[in-house]
Symmetry: C2
Subunit: 163 residues, 2 copies
Amino acid sequence: MNSSTTRNQTSIELGDTVPTVTITREFDAPVAHLFRAWTDGDLVARWMGPRSQTMHIERYDCTTGGAWRWWSSGEDGVEHHFYGSFHDVRRNDRLVQTFSYEGFPDSVALEILHLEALDGGRCRLTSVSVGASVEGRDAMVASGMERGVVEGYQKLDTLLAGG
Amino acid sequence: MNSSTTRNQTSIELGDTVPTVTITREFDAPVAHLFRAWTDGDLVARWMGPRSQTMHIERYDCTTGGAWRWWSSGEDGVEHHFYGSFHDVRRNDRLVQTFSYEGFPDSVALEILHLEALDGGRCRLTSVSVGASVEGRDAMVASGMERGVVEGYQKLDTLLAGG
């Protein structure tokens, strides 16, 4: 594989015995730009989720102790609602939040996102998501998580390229 | 063992390969009383934590999307600060929150607490706490978690017995 095919690819790894999903992704943008794209709800609405869905932000108070709520809709008219809390928000460094899909109201994941600067004004995102059981984690993955993550980050590339 | 020695004992189990702490405890009180003792900050201050510590509630907005912050102090004058968010609060049923100790600022746990009614006006609490790694979970346990939990629930027994 040459670097043109691996550059900025999304890696998704499932913990073997631990109910984690670890996502690693590099971006051609400084940490500060990525942090802003994650913490400004108007920007989040422009990139999060798969291409087939439109994002609607109801609440996005991205501060330590704040909370969020958004929903997505596709051409089929079906709405999917999600909500969570922001446990810890550290500028250009770390974002810890909870995540639930209302379709599975008892499922919940804790997501720990870390940003680090790379040479050349680039950065790397590492996200570790953990739930209470491997079964719950596997249900989340089976629901189409990978497509949403991969396409969302491609939309984020476009947003970041536009400054 | 006769029932007088096992009644209302605290069970703490660590996941073998999964970074969980599962706590089970019965109480001689209805679910509604236990729920109130968990969700009213003034009451929480009267029972949470080990006997050696005094609790100080800074913030306790126990609603879905709310947050909390408290600290404890002992005779040695040392303060221990903690904070988290309330992800999901369902009356007399379920409480999902995050938990960090500022002494280990990068550690965080997700705690899923479930209440169920038992015969005779009693109830059972089950709490599953999960972190991102077995190492982090073990550090939390080693810091004296068990004593704080067991003594806290004994103080809660006393509080509930007083109505």
